[in-house]
Symmetry: C2
Subunit: 236 residues, 2 copies
């Protein structure tokens, strides 16, 4: 039951805080749902680049910023005291992460692939929120969404391996742009640590689903949903 994923030695080191990485002014973001919060972030934030597997923020660090993925993807995670890693979630372009209500982050965040992230001071946002209820409500909606996501994660973790993998694929498909072809930014280990399974079980389950003609796996990072109904049946 113990020891998965030994703590990863990062390729690049702690860029956070300062503007060590290229802080460019303000990119043209993909059309974001004209909500007040996203708007403000775009106006007030700075973009930072993170190399694959580099840390964006660490657990126990002061939660000074709010982040929005511009390109690439991000994982949040926690290392248990025995070395196991639990991935809390994956954030794709447009997603906001780093929402915390304590003063410290409760999870760490790393770039899954090279990533550009819009960063904005929490204090700026909360100041805005105090003046403008629309912003405050935007924060609530976001938080509610995050809470819902986490509740769904709980449900995921009580399912069978097949159900977990099927749910994961359907979730990724619904988030990705393309209908039924998924380009996975994350490794099997990332998926395993998100689903609470081992890498072997994830792999086996995928080949099983492929044999059952529910999916196709042309390359290990690309998955085509062939029989959505079959997957949904596993989605419980």
């Amino acid at each position: 039951m113990l020891a998965a994923t030994p703590v990863r030695t990062d390729t690049s080191r702690r860029p956070a805080q300062a503007s060590r990485h290229g802080v460019v002014g303000n990119p043209n973001l993909d059309a974001c749902q004209g909500d007040a919060l996203a708007q403000s972030m775009r106006l007030m934030g700075a973009t930072m680049s993170f190399a694959r597997n580099s840390e964006i923020f660490g657990e126990r660090e002061p939660a000074e910023y709010l982040y929005r993925v511009i390109s690439g993807s991000v994982r949040s995670y926690k290392i248990l005291s025995d070395g196991r890693r639990q991935v809390g979630g994956f954030y794709l372009p447009g997603d906001i992460f780093g929402l915390e209500f304590a003063d410290e982050h409760t999870l760490s965040a790393e770039a899954v692939t090279d990533a550009k992230v819009l960063v904005i001071r929490r204090s700026a946002i909360t100041a805005l929120a105090d003046r403008d209820p629309a912003i405050a409500r935007g924060l609530f909606v976001l938080t509610g969404r995050e809470l819902k996501r986490t509740q769904d994660h709980v449900l995921l973790l009580v399912k069978s391996a097949q159900e977990r993998v099927a749910s994961f694929l359907l979730e990724m498909a619904s988030r990705g742009s393309s209908a039924s072809s998924i380009e996975l930014p994350m490794s099997r280990q990332d998926i395993a640590d998100y689903l609470g399974l081992t890498i072997e079980t994830v792999s086996r389950t995928l080949t099983h689903l492929e044999n059952a003609a529910a999916i196709e796996v042309p390359t290990s990072r690309r998955i085509v949903l062939r029989d959505r109904a079959a997957l949904s049946r596993l989605n419980v």
Copy 2:
């Protein structure tokens, strides 16, 4: 892997919405941490009584109210399509539940024991929050706490049975008033459905912990922590 807990047939039926149960004016609440939100609830809310196992609100119902436990205890849960039940959390006196940010509840809530609950319209709270940033911030703190709790639940579900039970006991001990003697309001089935285990595994684990002199179980609902260090060691 399938079918735990067949959907429970409640002893009493849907009191919610109306004031069918005794809506008394306004009880003297146990000293609550003078925060603005709790204050307002006390002033504006009405108390309702719910019989053991009766539903307080159901998943998919409009989330019109916010709730605060006065006495007794409450569980939130979700029934999966195959009949399994996942308990999301337990709420003890002083705890606030029913926090949702969508228009509908995503979980159901039931009284674990006979319970009195302070009920307040969500609209009343949000109206307050729009005018008073202190209230808005209070809501954030609550939500943040709930999010944290749910994240911890995720971590719980990837642990071994021993670890889950030990964590559960420590959590309950920290929430209850008494130092190391816990009076459990909920059944083994409730615990099992919260921990993602079977009732048999919970029971066996408890007797195992008792044999290991970590706890004592004088009656099935009362548990005394004998060796907190040993339990903490299991807490990962």
